[in-house]
Amino acid sequence: MAKMVSLTIDGRPVSVSEGTLIVNAAKTIGIDVPVFCYHPKMEPVGMCRQCLVEVGRPAIDRATGQPVIENGQPKINFGPKLETACTTPVSEGMVVLSQSDKARASQKEILEFLLTSHPLDCPVCDKGGECPLQNLTMEHASPQSRFLFDEKHHAEKRVPLGDKIWLDRERCIQCARCIRFQEQVAGEPVLAFYQRGRSTDIITSSEPPFDSIFSGNTTDICPVGALTTADFRFGARPWEMKAAASICSLCPVGCNVTFNTRREAKSRARTGTTTAGGKVVIKRAMPRQNEQVNEIWICDRGRFEWHYVEREDRLEKPLVKKNGKLEKVSWKVAIEEIGNKVKGNKEEVVVLASGRLSNEDLFNLKQLADGLGGEALLYDSLPGGELTTKYGVSAGTNIGDMGAGTTILVAASDLYHEAPIWHLRVKQAAERGATLIIVNSEATRLDKYAKHLVRCEKGEAAKKVRELGAAVKDAKNLVIFFGADGSSALAEACAELVKSRAGKPNNGLVGVWPRANDQGALELGFKPAQDLQAVFEKASVVYIVGADPIGDGAIKTQNVKRKPFIIVQELFLTETAKLADVLLPAQAFTERDGSYTSGERRVQRFYPAVPALGETKADYAITALIAAELGIEVEGRSAGLVMDKLAAAVPAFADITYGKLAETTEQWPIIGRADLYYGGTSYQNSQGLGVPLGRENKKAEEGSL
């Protein structure tokens, strides 16, 4: 425990650990010192001067080394100048005045100074409504400008910094948050200042420009509307949008996100890929704080690649094949068709599902397969991945806590591309002193942070990992991220190294899965599919959900000798769907609720953001319909009820309920809509931090300051 220091801020006493900056100490007791350049996730630089406060320190008697007492009170010496709250650490007995006349005057002056070169074009600015400059101006600045409008500083307003981010040069207040984010947090210093003084510009000179998968985060922490995303630019005003908590579905990190939605005007024909008129559509994805998963960041895939759910070619109605052609039918007809076909073929039913589905969907599919005596297979996962259900990381694990004493091994995985936020957090752990070892056949962007870099041929990672054995044996904590390297040998070699550590926080395996919920599927007892071609030929009924083995080339139809009866449940008319005898339209994860299990074995809930499309139904509900037709009892009324059944059936999920998944605790840094200026536009988490599987130690879960 760090030494505690007591001080008063605006007359209120506060005790914080030694080294805490005044601005953060104030934040803990709800006092907001205005800041622009300071950001709690980055090193302070003190360059905007917005946070000036009066600071007094107890006078010390030189002879005795004791504080001087005057009138029974310690004498406080105030310096002649104000100090920046964002760079000054607290000290014992300090007296901070953030609201004194002097402090307020300077805060007002700095704002006036910033506004001399800011266009204040809030009415057409994307940030307007969630803008720190706007908010702090309303709160601290003079309502009247002393500068002539015609003499405003003008600069280019449409500068693409790459294909994802646009810069409005005249709005930039040169706080360098974006530059520092790229340098310190992302580790990709591709932004910089150009020129000096009033001509200062943000530039990128990388090839391609602004070459970073984390670039979107700069638009969250930019305290003005200087940086905007090409995707959302001029898309909506912040106050017009609703917020729905969700989980990114694109990789196993499971970043917490918020979808902002808006009902489009009837007259508005299209937005992006959707015919929007009159519909509620998603306008943007924003990070939602979860310090144990994604902190306040998301990668650009998560931010921009959800558009597929709104594509125009979504399936909206069940279809049944008649005379070789898929024809629209009612749900009743489709389900009856399945019933007729399956009833005679029960023993040879195969369910093939992918990690795109939620825990609830997968659980129901497993129930159905079990009820029919069939098989439940997981489509296209890592060989040997089931080992993570035994030796996966357990409760209390947080990459954010890892540092000296922890060894992190990344084997046959390119985290930067496969699970970007893990890349970012592992990089930071390495910077805090964790020993990073990388075994890979190819160079990755994480290499430069590795203590040991082991190059190997493809398929040889397992051997190299085994050779490492002794080197990592003594590590206090050992976490292994592993990817695909041909066979299950790699997973086995990795498991061997962590076996003895199973159940200890910050120890164990993490599978870098191709999809968001492969972990969940394995926890629920799905078997990774081995030889799909053989499965296809053997089965009499194949029920394929959320997977396109034919489009992916995993099954070559021209080689299939005997075609089974095929049920496909999908969002789109995929190559596999075209072969279906019955094709059932599923809801996208943005239209329903459910939960995913992340690669770190954290179960997290997502909520509906937009109304469901056409006649689509949630996957778990469709499966329940089919089950009912076949006389098998499967819960399908709501995702929460399915979770209750799941928790009762699967020990690892034992005490999980939708209520528990929705619980939150206070997190640091404190961010939120009221104080956008401090942490940026990342959403506060009020809908659930999730629950790690097999948690033994609930205490470890509680957020600490």
């Binding site: 210093p189 591709v190 932004l191 910089a192 200042f193 150009y194 020129q195 000096r196 510009d201 530039i203 990128t204 000179s205 990388s206 090839e207």
Partner: protein, 164 residues
């Protein structure tokens, strides 16, 4: 390419810095790169970033920060007139305006023949000898102090003939 054209100079420059501080060589390398064309082109930025082990953005930032580095081709003769406060008090603004007028350009502009650029810069530490400007050439930087518009035009005409 620097490494091909000036292998010895590059070696000499790098020798001045300990290997773990080689990014410090960026300044002399930029001067070297600027010798011929009067500006640092994209190839040189990439090459210097490689030599110094920093990013291209870092190099671009340095070029942007210093008035003496240029990343776009302008006039071969570049007059940088100080218009900072002390010089301004001795008529630098007017001086700049007149010189530009005589050349038929705006401050920051280049003459149609592409030979002369005139731009305003911050204090050059010759405050007592205003109006003044500096010109960068292969042999270093020359200061022209206590100037008049006529004297400046004379200088330009002579220099023009040389650079042509």
């Amino acid at each position: 390419m620097l490494a091909e054209k000036y292998p010895n100079e590059v070696k000499k420059i790098l020798a001045k810095y300990p290997p773990e501080r080689k990014q410090s060589a960026v300044m002399p390398l930029l001067h070297l790169a600027q010798l011929e064309a009067g500006f640092v082109d994209r190839h040189a930025v990439v090459e210097i970033a490689g030599i110094c082990g920093i990013t291209e953005t870092d190099v671009a930032e340095i070029i942007g920060f210093y008035t003496l580095y240029h990343d776009a081709p302008e006039g071969k003769l570049r007059l940088q007139v100080c218009t900072d406060i002390s010089c301004a008090l001795r008529g630098a603004d007017e001086f700049l305006a007149k010189v530009c007028e005589r050349l038929g350009i705006q401050p920051g502009g280049t003459t149609p023949d592409g030979l002369v650029t005139v731009e305003a810069v911050m204090c050059l530490a010759a405050c007592d000898k205003a109006p003044m400007f500096q010109v960068q050439g292969p042999d270093g930087i020359a200061y022209h102090e206590n100037m008049t518009v006529d004297k400046t035009m004379e200088f330009i005409e002579t220099a023009r003939k040389e650079v042509k």
